[in-house]
Amino acid sequence: MKRWTLWVPLTLFLGFCVLAGYQLTQPKDDFVVSRMIGKPLPDFDLHAASLDRPALASSYFHDGKPHLLNVFASWCIPCAAEAPQLEALRRRGADIAGIAIRDRPEDVADYLTRYGNPYSRIGSDDLSQVQLDIGSSGVPETFVIDGKGIIRYQHIGDIRPDDVPLMIGKLREAEQ
């Protein structure tokens, strides 16, 4: 067999690696970035999702202070996984408002006793209407809203321990 033919398999395989590598570096369509960033929060008025926290309306975000808006659900495991990080954010002074998606009050109560309750207010979005309006495509997601009710940042997926400083930084930015 000719010597050069021995290199053909390796060359073909390298071609495959380049293609696959290129595809991996492409931003995946799995995550849809909200087109709402830089835009005001749409108007909504949700009823309370739990007995010990007040209901949530969009007017809450117009008090001149930055807030975190966390979209979660009691049936969502990554949400439970991010609960300690939300608690850490709360202890570092962040105010966190929650929206529970398609949930039942008793499930939410169970969830909060189990994983802790870092929320100052929780609205119940029974039909995912608000979730859609703010451009969220799944749970959990966390938004940074500035004091004028403008969406400044969107975090998709659970907040991992290394993301906490980033979220704090985004909150600081929103303060200015």
Partner: protein
């Protein structure tokens, strides 16, 4: 506690793999073999530890320990135990652990029982096995830890995809994985042989049973997967050219080619470099297929399940393992001595032709699977389906089948056309008769018609090697070949018949109404709600009668699972020797009628029967090879004894 035990076992197994790699590699250096004795024990203990880790994962799933993240994400306490256990490998992390476990066990097996190769080649092989294994251990431990705990245990698990809650699926992934990962042994043998430049007929003889074993499992896995898709998806099809299916077909094609080229190497000492390359390619196809499916670059998995980091990790593993092996091949294969020569018209020639055609089909499937990725780089979205795969692969499959009919009749090294003229003529005549008959009496499309003709010819040709031989003295391995080739004919007949003669009926009927499909009359007696352990369903109760015969009760369902919430279609089947009735119940239309979809699929069952026969052929060949080997060993041992006696 149990999860932590599993994790510790996994770390220990990984460090033993590192030890195995170092001692095996050092032994290749002059004077580096002081520690070489550790290599085999390291491989064996590594295998046991990996198996222990996997067992621990099964235990946490069996107990539904919701403090383990993987259990919480993929299981539910209200699931039957068998599905709790299968949930352990119905997800990314668990299936990677299964992969590593099988790989470590395969390494342990060759370390424990394989003593025929030169020890240096064996050590290089074990080092290669450890090297590939280490990459996967790193992947598991650093980016896919199956034993990760949740900070606070979950209240209830999220459940397993209901489509996967099927008894067939309990056995299907492990079967396929044994096939995929079993090929890693061939890969390591090939690398070992390249390192020591020992590519001999003995090498092929030793590698062959391992390839056969993996190939049997692959064949069974593909056959079972196809049957699962057939009855579970409710679409009436049995092969969809879906990336997941292609990922299992490609290693099978490569392994089939490898089996045949290893036969040439074992019997005639030819095709040395080619066999080595196929050894590398076969397992590479297992890894590439798994990568394409797992990285999410071909089929995207939902919301947050895919971590782009993981794709990068697997790609790096692929680049190092496959790239390294192919580089070694490019550098070393030229220095492997050229094998024996043979004439074009000979057993070797036919097997080379079969190899080239199999490789061509492999290339076609690979290109078709990758093409959407290529166009996506240019922002064009395409999907590639049967209109591409069927005709293009047929162009190479049919010539291959023709040579497959004739090849086993040829002699090694050189043969003449006049010697095999008569049997070839008979086989060709049968094919032509079927072609002509099908053409005149039935309007059948070209591909199914060719399929029918070739299956008839092949079914006869498969038994021709038995002609004029004493059947009692025939080696078991030859029976294996006959069974496997006949299995191909049977499967081909099923495929062609399903495609040529299937009848379909789509109707909306009220309870009490009836519909005809082919020779069947189906009466819908009632639609009733029913419930199972974790689902509720609407069940269409029907009475089906074949050509006015006694009615047979069937009950297809449309099922609703609640954890996670999802609907699935449960088809109902009536199997006769000459075909299957396939019934699906759909939705209720506004006027109280029910949608029914019925198929009559003549001889469809032959597809999977054929697949099973092919696997049985593989099993016979494996038994034959192993027995012959044991015999050879005893004969050798006796000869040595006699020599020792006469010397004394």
């Amino acid at each position: 506690m149990i999860a932590e035990l599993g994790l510790v076992a996994l770390w220990l197994a990984a460090s033993l793999a590192a030890l195995q790699l170092v001692t095996g590699a050092l032994a290749q250096q002059v004077g580096g073999d002081e520690l070489a004795v550790l290599t085999r024990p390291a491989a064996i203990v590594q295998g046991l530890l990996a198996a222990f880790a996997f067992l621990m994962l099964l235990v946490v799933f069996g107990q539904t320990d919701l403090s383990v993240k993987l259990v919480a994400m993929n299981s539910h306490s209200e699931k039957p135990l068998i599905f709790k256990l299968s949930g352990a490998f119905g997800n990314h992390e668990g299936s990677m652990l299964l992969w590593v476990t099988i790989m470590a066990l395969a390494g342990a097996m060759i370390a424990a029982i394989e003593h025929r190769l030169p020890e240096k080649t064996m050590l290089a092989t074990l080092a290669a096995q450890a090297f590939v294994g280490l990459g996967f251990y790193a992947f598991l431990l650093f980016s896919s830890n199956p034993f990760e705990r949740l900070p606070t245990p979950a209240l209830q698990g999220q459940g397993l995809n209901p489509l996967l809650q099927d008894i067939g699926l309990v056995f299907h992934p492990p079967t396929l994985y044994v096939g995929y990962v079993g090929l890693s042994v061939a890969f390591s043998f090939a690398v070992g042989a390249l390192v020591t430049r020992q590519v001999t007929p003995d090498f092929a003889r030793i590698m062959r049973p391992w390839v056969l074993g993996a190939w049997i499992f692959l064949t069974l896995g593909i056959t079972a997967g196809s049957y699962w898709a057939y009855y579970e998806l409710g679409w009436g099809g049995w092969w969809f050219w879906d990336p997941v299916e292609n990922a299992s077909l490609m290693p099978w094609l490569a392994a089939t080619a490898l089996l045949h080229s290893a036969s040439v190497l074992a019997a005639r000492d030819a095709l040395r470099a080619w066999t080595i390359m196929l050894g590398v390619v076969a397992f590479s196809m297992s890894m590439v297929g798994t990568f394409l499916v797992r990285s999410g670059i071909l089929t995207s998995v939902h919301a947050f399940a895919v971590d782009p980091e993981r794709g990068t990790f697997i790609l790096a593993l692929l680049a190092i393992n496959i790239g390294g092996a192919l580089l070694l091949f490019a550098l070393r294969a030229g220095t492997v001595a050229e094998g024996k020569r043979f004439s074009v018209l000979s057993r070797e020639g036919a097997l080379v032709f079969n190899n080239v055609m199999l490789s061509a089909v492999l290339g076609i499937v690979l290109l078709g699977t990758l093409y959407p990725l290529v166009t996506e780089a240019f922002n064009v979205r395409v999907s590639v389906g049967p209109p591409y795969f069927n005709p293009v692969s047929a162009i190479f499959v049919f010539p291959m089948l023709a040579v497959m009919a004739v090849g086993p009749l040829l002699r090694w090294r050189q043969d003449g056309m006049q010697r095999i003229g008569r049997p070839v003529l008979i086989v060709a005549l049968v094919a032509l008769l079927v072609l002509a008959g099908g053409w005149t009496f039935a309007s059948i499309h070209l591909l199914p018609l060719l399929g029918l003709a070739f299956s008839a010819a092949l079914a006869i040709a498969a038994f021709m090697p038995l002609r004029g031989r004493n059947l009692r003295l025939l080696p078991i391995a030859t029976w294996g070949m006959v069974a496997a080739h006949f299995g191909i004919a049977v499967a081909l007949f099923g495929m062609a018949s399903e495609s040529a003669f299937s009848k379909e009926k789509l109707a909306a009927i009220e309870a009490g109404g009836s519909a005809d499909v082919g020779p069947w009359t189906v009466v819908l007696t009632d639609v009733v709600p029913t419930a199972g352990p974790n689902w509720t369903a609407l069940e269409g109760q029907m009475l089906a009668s074949y050509e006015g015969g006694p009615p047979i009760a069937i009950a297809p369902q449309s099922r609703n699972f609640w954890a996670p919430p999802q609907e699935t279609t449960e088809s109902a089947l009536v199997t006769r020797w000459n075909g299957q009735l396939y019934a699906v119940v759909g939705r209720e239309t506004a006027e109280g009628r029910w949608q029914l979809r019925l198929w009559w699929k003549p001889f469809v069952i032959f597809i999977w029967l054929g697949g099973a026969l092919v696997a049985l052929g593989g099993l016979l060949a494996l038994i034959g090879r192993v027995l012959a080997d044991l015999k050879r060993r005893t004969v050798k041992a006796r000869a040595a004894e006699r020599r020792a006696e006469s010397a004394a």
